[in-house]
């Protein structure tokens, strides 16, 4: 008969939760552009992503079916008429991460929609990227996203980035009952029909957020991109507990009242790694001999490659995500279906919180595609996104310790993140208080003509964006007792962020145990690929 321990192990593997035992293999963990192989203390709870769900066999057919059988709206072909003004609004490069192999699902959707529009005699079509205050996508990135044919036909006059600072390009609608500004891109607002082309990567995306944040301006974003709303959100990923989501819904409701918006939302599985890196998505217990060899080769290569080279290589490897669902029609019913599918892929049930939680931080974030994960983005990954990968109950206990694995290098990209540099070097030494930062400096950065110019004409994030990144971590900052960054290569970055540092994970765990007590419980979120801890108390 099998010993109980083995049976327990089998059970845990099936539930995506593995409790570390004496003979457990070391874990392969992201740490920026590198991997660490770490032995974890016995009893550590390792939470793995679910295996990738099966994709739909024919994406185009799924899209056609969805737009012909939409939720609470007429089929798309019935909404089109000759001579109308049609605008397709498209999610930007911040999703999915890493960018997916071509054809991107946005291209596939547009191919179907534009063909239908041509058949319906619709000629006045614009394609607008919903980049909000994110950087403008470069021409090469835009080409890759929609494919050669669409790009050549529409770029640059009819396929372009939204410009939140164009004085003539924004229209204000009536305010919400909470006095939130509802502002929209003029072309979008003056269209007879808007088709929103979405890629849902985490439950925070999509729904009313698509239009409410994607094609608006600073005045409108201020309504919810502020420390108070963030503090009032128990999780960004669970609509029921998110003040952010509620504010977006109020804004989106005004938009839906004034505009005909046809949403096409898509969900992806979490097949983040293709061959030969596919093993990174597996549990270490399931590695084959070939996987172990590949891992050693990878570790050897990364050890000898300069960081910039490793970064370039990682950024050049797209993810072979597959589309698991396509939903179309009115905002809310469509998004409800998207969320359901999203949770099916990402949610991992977990019993109870932990005193110490370990987050390995990978090389990429929504705001560092083809760029550098700078210290502020490291902060937002740890305390913003990863901390919030739950349904309202964080994985770490109140007052507990977060351990982040990352070199925390002091590197910024002056092209993409110019205002981040000033925020980090000038403001953080003065204060880390979000309320104070918002009150004293936010408007100054938002209106700085140089940053406005770099956002409009270059490929820079808006001047105010580093503030949003800081606010995004507010929820985590208020909750945890201590943050330790293990493997930080300098002292000053962790210090400016208000964190402790150690050279190794083992030292970090020792320090965390010193803070929380010897019997402290430990969890590791074995991310990436994406997963959300569905914590039951």
């Amino acid at each position: 008969m099998r010993p109980i321990k083995t049976l327990q192990k089998l059970y845990d593997e099936e539930s995506q939760v593995v409790i570390t035992e004496k003979g457990s293999p070391p874990r392969v963990l992201f740490s920026g552009e590198n991997f660490l192989q770490e032995d974890l203390p016995v009893g550590t709870r390792v939470i793995f992503p679910r295996p990738p769900m099966a994709g739909v066999p024919n994406v185009k057919a799924a899209i056609r079916w969805a737009i012909n059988h939409p939720e609470n709206m007429e089929p798309l072909h019935a909404l089109m008429r000759p001579g109308m003004k049609l605008t397709c609004v498209i999610d930007d490069i911040s999703v999915p991460l890493p960018p997916m192999v071509t054809p991107d699902v946005r291209q596939t959707i547009l191919e179907v929609v534009l063909e239908l529009a041509a058949d319906s005699g619709v000629d006045d079509i614009h394609l607008v990227i919903a980049n909000a205050l994110h950087r403008r996508m470069t021409e090469a990135e835009m080409r890759r996203m929609v494919g050669e044919k669409i790009h050549n036909a529409y770029y640059p006059d009819r396929y372009y980035n939204h410009d939140a600072e164009d004085p003539d390009g924004i229209v204000e609608m009536e305010r919400t009952l909470h006095n939130e500004v509802v502002a929209l891109n003029r072309r979008v607002a003056e269209s007879d029909l808007v088709v929103y082309v979405n890629v849902n990567f985490v439950p925070m995306n999509g729904g009313h957020k698509s239009m409410g944040t994607g094609v608006t301006n600073y005045a409108s974003l201020r309504a919810h991109h502020n420390p108070k709303t963030i503090r009032d959100s128990d999780s960004y990923m669970e609509p029921k507990t998110s003040a952010l989501y509620k504010s977006n819904s109020r804004i989106g409701t005004v938009i839906d009242k004034n505009l005909k918006v046809f949403h096409i939302e898509t969900t992806l599985n979490n097949r983040m790694f293709g061959a030969p890196l596919e093993f990174l998505g597996k549990k270490e217990e399931d590695y084959t001999e070939a996987d172990r060899l590949r891992l050693q080769a990878l570790l050897f290569g990364l050890k000898h490659a300069p960081r910039a080279a490793a970064r370039k290589i990682f950024n050049a490897v797209p993810a072979p995500y597959e589309v698991t669902g396509v939903f179309a029609g009115a905002t809310e019913p469509v998004h409800a279906k998207t969320l359901e599918m999203s949770w099916k892929q990402y949610s991992v049930p977990v019993e109870g919180q932990s005193d110490i939680v370990i987050f390995p931080i990978p090389f990429i974030s929504p705001y560092s595609v083809n760029s550098i994960l700078n210290p502020l983005l490291l902060q937002v990954m740890g305390l913003g996104y990863f901390f919030n990968l739950n349904r309202g109950v964080p994985l770490v206990k109140k007052g507990g310790v977060l351990i982040l694995l990352h070199p925390a290098f002091d590197e910024f990209d002056p092209v993409q993140h110019p205002s981040y540099i000033e925020f980090f070097n000038r403001l953080l030494p003065e204060t880390r208080d979000s309320m104070k930062l918002e009150h004293k400096y936010e408007r100054e950065f938002a209106e700085n003509p140089s940053y406005v110019h770099l956002y409009r004409k270059g490929n820079a994030y808006h001047g105010v964006h580093p503030f949003y990144m800081w606010y995004w971590g507010e929820n985590g900052r208020q909750h945890v007792g201590k943050v330790i960054v293990a493997g930080a290569e300098n002292n000053h970055v962790p210090e400016l962020l208000g964190w402790d540092r150690t050279d190794t994970l083992t030292e970090a765990i020792e320090e965390a145990r010193g803070f929380m007590g010897r019997s402290a419980t430990i969890s590791l979120l074995r991310i990436a690929p994406t997963l959300l801890a569905d914590v039951k108390l």
Binding site: P414, R443, E447, K457
Partner: protein, 221 residues
């Protein structure tokens, strides 16, 4: 928010030209055929010298350069300034200069041009850009003729910074909230005294300084 201004260097920052072009225009519009030919030849012959002086010392360059205006009448200079703006400066304006100024105005800044060029040559440009103030060098005139001397202090280098400081004190503006824009490391002082300096199409030295101080770098087209 305290009152603030955005200070712009002109040559190389807002327009892709420098005062040599401006002078060349004057030379070519001397009035008589012989005069035009003579001055054009002298100017052409002096261009390498101008170039070398500009690199070595902007102050010496300016002083040397202004002497070439000696003897020209004031009314003639003013008339030619208008034509020169249309023919030389306006086409040389970076396409994005007006946007940059519009963005500063939206942010509540007063617009001030700070240039080592002569005031009468820059006035039409200041008017065109809607600038609130022009800080530029003033030519001395005696009996309606230019003497070739500039009324001190010559606006360049550290004096640009002094002029900006005086302007802010006079107008009650907060230097810490003011913006400065220049393309040249010779304007380092001007950039360093404002709270929000920006390098625009910077030369190599200014680019290095901007990187060292984490100043934003703009590339206007």
């Amino acid at each position: 928010m305290p009152a603030k201004a955005a200070f712009y260097d002109v040559d190389g920052t807002l327009v892709r030209t420098n005062i040599v072009h401006v002078y060349a225009y004057y030379a070519m519009n001397r009035g008589s055929l012989l005069g035009t030919a003579g001055r054009s030849l002298v100017t052409a012959a002096s261009l390498p010298l101008f170039g070398a002086l500009d690199v070595i010392n902007r102050k010496v360059f300016n002083e040397f350069f202004y002497r070439y205006y000696e003897g020209l009448t004031e009314d003639r200079l003013l008339t030619v300034a208008e034509d020169m703006f249309e023919d030389v400066l306006k086409p040389a304006l970076y396409e994005q200069s007006k946007d940059l100024i519009a963005e500063a105005r939206r942010a509540g800044c007063r617009i001030v041009l700070v240039t080592g060029a002569l005031d009468f040559t820059m006035r039409p440009l200041a008017r065109y850009l809607g600038a609130d103030e022009l800080i530029a060098n003033k030519m001395q005139f005696v009996g309606g003729h230019a003497t070739g001397k500039v009324i001190p202090p010559i606006i360049e280098g550290a004096n640009k910074a002094n002029a900006i400081r005086d302007y802010c004190a006079r107008e009650g503006l907060s230097l810490a909230h003011c913006h400065g824009y220049s393309d040249s490391a010779s304007d380092y002082a001007m950039l360093a005294i404002v709270g929000r300096p920006t390098a625009v199409n910077p030369d190599m030295r200014l680019r290095q300084l901007a990187r060292a101080y984490n100043w934003p770098i703009l590339d206007l087209k």
